[in-house]
Symmetry: C3
Subunit: 350 residues, 3 copies
């Protein structure tokens, strides 16, 4: 069960554009979709099922904004209604589901649930996208694990010490207590480490930002979960004693780890990850270097999460521990559970 | 459920012969068979299960017409009875099923159902095999889809416009209405297109047959379904106005697409495809060229059918449309359903 | 269902040591284990499930004899109790199962069942390991088949004639009756062939041992099954008329085929195979040559057993024959069934 009356990242716009006149087939919250650009150039998403003979529409191609089935040429419109088909009157053809779509921040966002409730006003807002003072680079992983395991992973960064020992991990993460608070539907978990040596990834960022990579630093991690499954993590280092997170820009290297976690099925998800940074935003080589580094680091989590899922499948009744370090994931899951319950509560009208 | 009291193509004789002294293991209508040449050189088929310890007999080899199990040397006869086994008295060994076999037209045909009803007189008759005025070339595909999806495919050639756009497809197929009729157990669907440009495949055939490939032509497609799942399609082009299908041989390029569709399981089948042609029957280079072309074209259907099957599996309750263009498949399925019902009706004896 | 209150080979010590500071994950009788060297250098085995978040402990590493989870650093002790975890009090953490382990004969042995009953005195005893008069070489195969199919295979060597026709098989095996006897929990099946030509593998061994490979020989096979699933096979050839199995060492080439068959799941097992020999024990090149030969021969059984398993899965209700040649397997299975029943009989206390 997923929260479905909400916006999820379906794909990056670049993914869709790389396909030319082909649509993109993707499953979001168990809904199979064919995503394509309609007659006005706007992205649309419809069920990936041709009403004629059940062929996947995603095998077809886009002709003047209609999605032409690759089997017998039925042309599907952005609203899920058949536009035309050679030699046929199509008015009586059954419609397929069309999904509300928003293009924003370089991504295609879809609303997989009740279309009557799709509400653009509920789109999350991010200051760093489409902002010339910031740069963004990222990628996509397809992960064979419950999307909530990825939330757990990102809302407890003590795993960095073990999973990412050679890049961003360091013992001080384990040694420094974290603080978790819930504000409405948001969970915020933070950890501030003072007067430490920067780990390799941050030494690289310090050098890129003109700072001495060997200098002692204050390091912070502020994880922010918002439903359904977006996690933004303020991460950075400032020269020790300059104010940490609040230090002046010239004393720090600072960025936001961006995680859009989109459920595919109960045991798989699409993980759109990236990093937004405020320093050297025009240095595209640096963007590429960070993307490569981050991609490598995040790839280290894949095996762990996927085999954790295998283990949980084998021992479904075994209770897991919920320690203080797990509070970020625990609180996030509580919010998900509450919203799920609300979504499935019958509405009462006066 | 399959019509089982009937003849299916199990394999091409060349497939079996290519294996030397090894048998061929194949599943037909859920019946696992080991096919081999018996003591008289005639092809036989028995269950692929050694009565000794359950090893697949198809892993063994043929010794003087007996199928010797590759595990402990039990020798199976063409009648499903054990002939001998080192150091054993085999008379009490349980027999395995033996399937009636006919070798004809270059194929091995089997009767997977009630062996008491196997009747050579029910073998279909084809004029173009073993006929020096004709040439034949073909191949085999293993398709992960219900065999009836292949029947639908072949009994509605409007898909050529989309799936085979670069070879035999052309818009005129969509634009020209087809006519479907049922004659006993046979379904005939035909389409005649007049005064059109030949598509690439037929231009090649026209050149091969000494005709100007750029000339306007009359083109025909006459699909004939006969149970359980054989489809012969008269296809060809004649110079425009020369009589179409009935034109004199020197004005046309004409052939028969041969489709023997053999169910393997509920969601997979063996597709023996080929082309029989009346022109230049002794030109073996042309046979090879046509086979390569046809193989490439038919391969374009594989992905579509297999993913259509995946989609149907996911939405098993969703009704598909039955348009006029689908009438060939619809009528063919009706005949299959009627014969299936007949096969499962208890016989009444006076 | 497996006999679980007994010792199985979990792995070769060399397998574990090749992993350095990494543990070895392995499933034995459906029990998933992480195997590692504890603080005293002794091998330990615990459930492969971190009590914190369910990650496989086998993805972690060994730190000073504790198994550190690769996700968040929990350190597991050899007794299944958490030793420590950064920033946590671990006393209340749920314990996981720890398995009794014995290191002997170059292997790690585990007791997958009731740990209260684990009894080192029940370890099998082999004279040829750790004995300078003998040499041993072997390997490991992972087989997708019920472990009892491997017992059947090894307790009926008539299959050698068919499966291993080019190495150790010869028609005389089939032609010579075997004798089976049961002594307590042991099944002994023997076959003595006199005045025959040695097959290729034994010709090689004769040459290695300074005997004329073309000389007529007496050949023996004495298979000894002991529960749960160990099979030792005395195999060899002696110059004809010199006493066969009892001939003086200079007239024979003689060894013991060692088979430790460890169930993984109901339809898969770990097959530790090897050969112990009394001739030229210090010739490591010969050890390698025999290992390569034996590995190749035993690999010929893999396809047969795995496809036999597939066939048995398809026809689960079909009875298999139990011929005289099968008596070794039949008697071995009877002992397994009896011990299984005993293991599942409630104990009565006075």
């Amino acid at each position: 069960m997923f929260i479905k009356n909400t916006w999820y990242v379906a794909c990056a716009l670049t993914e869709l554009e790389a396909l030319g006149d082909k649509p993109l087939g993707r499953t979001i919250c168990n809904e199979q979709m064919a995503i394509f650009k309609g007659p006005d150039g706007k992205v649309a998403a419809v069920e990936d099922f041709c009403p004629h003979r059940g062929a996947p529409l995603s095998l077809g191609k886009v002709c003047k904004g209609h999605l032409q089935c690759g089997y017998h040429g039925l042309e599907m419109g952005v609203d899920g209604k058949t536009v035309q088909m050679p030699g046929q009157r199509v008015r009586g053809f059954p419609a397929i589901k069309a999904f509300a779509v928003v293009e924003r921040y370089g991504f295609v966002w879809v609303w997989p649930g009740d279309q009557a409730k799709a509400d653009v006003a509920q789109m999350p807002v991010f200051e760093f996208f489409d902002n010339p003072a910031w740069a963004y680079g990222g990628g996509l992983y397809h992960v064979q694990a419950d999307y909530r395991l990825m939330i757990d992973n990102l809302m407890d960064l003590t795993h960095e010490t073990y999973v990412h020992a050679n890049s961003i991990g360091q013992p001080e993460i384990d040694e420094t207590p974290c603080e978790t608070k819930v504000e409405g539907d948001q969970v915020i978990l933070q950890r501030h480490m003072e007067g430490i040596q920067a780990p390799p990834f941050w030494q690289m960022a310090m050098s890129a930002n003109g700072l001495d990579p060997q200098a002692k630093v204050d390091r912070w991690q502020i994880c922010r979960f918002t439903p359904p499954s977006h996690i933004m993590i303020d991460v950075g280092v400032a020269l020790a004693g300059k104010g940490g997170f609040d230090a002046a820009p010239e004393h720090k290297a600072y960025s936001v780890v961006v995680d859009f976690i989109t459920p595919e099925t109960e045991t798989s998800h699409w993980y759109h990850w990236g990093m937004a940074r405020q320093f050297k935003p025009h240095d595209t080589d640096l963007t590429d270097k960070i993307r490569a580094g981050q991609g490598g680091i995040f790839n280290e989590d894949m095996e762990m999460l996927q085999l954790q899922q295998v283990n949980i499948n084998k021992w479904p009744d075994r209770k897991l521990l919920m320690l203080n370090i797990d509070s970020g994931g625990v609180q996030s899951r509580r919010i998900i559970d509450r919203l799920l319950a609300e979504e499935h509560t019958p509405e009462v009208t006066a």
